[in-house]
């Protein structure tokens, strides 16, 4: 909270009741990217999550984004899911949970369910923690940090 006032941490919009002892609870936005796999090829589909929620199928990967603009020019970040959703078997971020110092945007979230689970637009889905850097900071200005909508991987072209 202190670092937000100083401008070192950006959380927009910010609500006091979403602060935890060591993290901030963020929400999911209402856009979801899903992939149909046919003949081992991916076909991308973007949908709006309806108010009544949408059921995620197990063992499939979905992309979404945070509702909040989150970032820091001073700290490195870790974006993880809430334990309450982990307890329902929902992975949030598939192995790359480190947020680079200097990226400030609506983060792309990778969702993988282990059991069928319903998700709702704007529900609290994860938490972000901030980590002090040791060493000189050169800000991360490239890559995915200019995007505010869920971004698919740039490593390959998708149809």
């Amino acid at each position: 909270m202190k670092q937000i006032k100083k401008g070192n941490i950006i959380i927009e919009p910010f609500y006091l009741e979403q602060v935890n002892p060591n993290s901030y609870n963020y929400r999911i936005n209402d856009q979801l990217i899903m992939f149909d796999i046919k003949n081992n090829k991916k076909h991308k589909k973007t949908i709006k999550i309806p108010k009544e929620g949408i059921i995620l199928e197990p063992h499939k990967t979905y992309l979404a984004s945070t509702f909040e603009t989150l970032g820091s020019i001073k700290y490195a970040m870790s974006l993880i899911g809430r334990s309450s959703l982990g307890r329902l078997g929902l992975f949030l971020q598939v192995s790359a949970n480190l947020g680079h110092t200097g990226s400030i945007h609506k983060w792309t979230l990778e969702l993988v369910a282990t059991k069928k689970i319903k998700i709702y637009p704007f529900m609290i889905i994860g938490q972000i923690s901030f980590w002090e850097n040791k060493g000189n900071i050169s800000s991360y200005l490239e890559g995915y940090s200019k995007f505010n909508l869920p971004q698919v991987s740039k490593m390959e072209e998708i149809q």
């Binding site: 202190k2 670092q3 919009p13 609500y15 009741e17 935890n20 002892p21 060591n22 993290s23 929400r27 929620g53 059921i55 197990p58 063992h59 509702f67 870790s78 993880i80 899911g81 809430r82 334990s83 309450s84 959703l85 982990g86 307890r87 329902l88 078997g89 929902l90 992975f91 949030l92 971020q93 282990t114 059991k115 069928k116 689970i117 319903k118 998700i119 709702y120 704007f122 529900m123 609290i124 994860g126 938490q127 923690s129 002090e132």
Partner: protein, 177 residues
């Protein structure tokens, strides 16, 4: 900053880290190894819904072991009571367990400062794997926080055994735009 194994022992002796029961042999370079308790929890619902309580049952892991199928998801727990009002615990699998394709947590590895209890493991098997009570399954590291400490006082405080998700309790918090 992360604590070394030697520092974890020191902080346990000074009462600033709680690990019960504590056994020197489970200290590693930067962590303390956690063992698997004998209770586990499975949900009975076809579709899990965070807006409602989801029905579940608690069972025992037999001495002869419990066979998990590929894709199985269950909640289990540590034998140890873990926590600290001074450091932030983060849980990890033992790499030997991860090498068997078994996740021990799904996404939420950060334990709130001030939360003291059994760790609920979120076990997800990507390959068929057998688990046994008291096996070494995970490890916990401790990190130095920066800023004024506000202790955890949430719904999972003082957990004993596996604790199901209680996300429905705060699901009603409406978004103010």
């Amino acid at each position: 900053m992360i604590l070394t194994g030697n520092e974890i022992i020191k902080q346990v002796n000074e009462g600033k880290i709680i690990i019960k029961p504590f056994n020197d042999k489970q200290i590693t370079t930067n962590t303390y190894d956690l063992t698997l308790g004998d209770k586990y929890l499975t949900y009975n619902e076809d579709i899990l819904d965070p807006a409602k309580p989801n029905s579940y049952e608690i069972k025992s892991i037999p001495k002869e072991g419990l066979q998990l199928k590929q894709g199985d998801f269950i909640l289990a727990h540590s034998n140890e009571i873990i926590g600290s009002k001074y450091f932030v615990p983060i849980i990890h699998a033992k790499s030997s367990v991860a090498r068997l394709g078994l996740f021990i947590h799904v996404t939420a590895d950060l334990i709130d400062i001030g939360s003291i209890g059994n760790i609920t493991f979120q076990l997800y098997a990507t390959l068929p794997v057998k688990i046994y009570p008291n096996m070494l399954i995970g490890q916990v590291s401790f990190w130095v926080p920066k800023g004024k400490i506000e202790l955890y006082n949430g719904k999972y405080q003082g957990s004993l055994g596996p604790r199901a998700s209680e996300v429905h309790k705060d699901f009603k918090e409406k978004l103010k735009i």
